[in-house]
Symmetry: C2
Subunit: 227 residues, 2 copies
């Protein structure tokens, strides 16, 4: 389902070029549960943005559901994103002037779902992450962990085939983290492909496969022996 070949990403921002990804080759099958770990600055979010079709590689090949993603234009990329992928951003990326409910309804607008169904689905998924009583708060009226959960809810509302989650429990206490991981486990058992970045080895242990990244390269790719 996901196949990266010699993926390179270099940032050129008027200073020293930053070689964020230096040649990544990776295959992820439909329905897999993969965790990605690595030091701060090693390239994890960069890799997630490429897999999530939010950014393009500098060079290399990216096959997603049979399509050559690096050749698609912006509209085609947006279409793939909206239909297939749910993305949880490391820093949430919520729209500040919308409520939690409105933020979660947004992907359904792109999917051309009717307003009443949009609202109903958004409310359901917000309750699933424990925010039933915070739906009408705006992001600056929510705690850090509540904003993170809105970001998680938004990624799930379109029933995506692939969840790309960049440190989805970073702002959560252990109890709330466990609730979120149980939710992801349930969705995975229903066929969803889960790719998550984490700094927490306990969170990584929910996955079947662990990929380690260092200085823009894959330095480890192992199957979990437990379960």
């Amino acid at each position: 389902m996901i196949e990266l070949t010699d993926i390179v990403k270099t940032y050129n921002a008027g200073m020293q070029p930053v070689h964020a990804l230096r040649g990544i080759s990776l295959k992820i099958q439909t329905g897999e549960y993969v965790a990605i770990m690595g030091a701060s600055g090693s390239g994890k979010s960069t890799l997630m943005h490429l897999i999530g079709c939010l950014d393009r590689p500098t060079s290399g090949r990216f096959l997603l559901a049979g399509k050559e993603v690096q050749t698609l234009n912006q509209d085609e990329l947006a279409d793939i994103r909206n239909r297939l992928i749910g993305f949880v951003f490391q820093q949430f990326n919520l729209l500040p002037r919308m409520t939690a409910l409105e933020n979660v309804m947004l992907p359904l607008v792109y999917a051309k779902v009717s307003p009443s169904i949009r609202r109903e689905r958004a409310e359901t998924v917000l309750k699933l992450v424990g925010l039933g009583d915070r739906m009408h708060h705006r992001p600056n009226q929510l705690s850090g962990g509540q904003q993170q959960r809105v970001s998680i809810a938004r990624s799930l509302v379109n029933e995506p085939q692939i969840i790309v989650a960049d440190e989805p429990t970073g702002a959560l206490d252990s109890h709330t983290s466990a609730d979120i991981m149980t939710l992801l486990k349930e969705l995975h058992s229903q066929g969803m492909t889960v790719i998550l970045v984490t700094h927490d080895s306990e969170i990584a242990s929910y996955a079947r496969r662990l990929i380690r990244i260092k200085d823009g390269l894959i330095v480890g790719d192992t199957l979990s022996v437990s379960t």
Copy 2:
């Protein structure tokens, strides 16, 4: 040094009032090292903003270095903040159009330090958190953990007496976290008061005292038995 008595904080934002803090009483002596833990939404960031003089209580008394903080005006609060307190925000609060270096130099502008000394001190503290080669990047050219470290560097550049850190290692891998905790331990041994919120019990174990918050109330306050 810090004394809270019956501190209440209620948010009224046009919807149901939220009783974020419901009567907190707490004393923290000069030079203590305190960790605060509690569920997502329990009131930790609200408490940290009050202690850090970034917000006022709805009611209750707050003595800081002998002054009745709840009676001070905005200028007096700003003065206390800039002289005594270094604050690490849960979501970093970096200025997007400034580089890492400029962001870290900002507290020294308020302290009326000369431009060359400002630059020198900011560079020193950025190197201390491992960002010597990222000084001229803006926040959106930095990874999540790098932004967090800029926020930490900024809180330390004014050599504050009290560090108020809201989940300072939330976006960091274990190795980088350990570096940051070693830095805080060193500063604490030099006399700094450290108050940190964390979801990670391993990070909390660096502190001498652990305060647990639940639904806006203190439900535990224990001294660490180790070390």
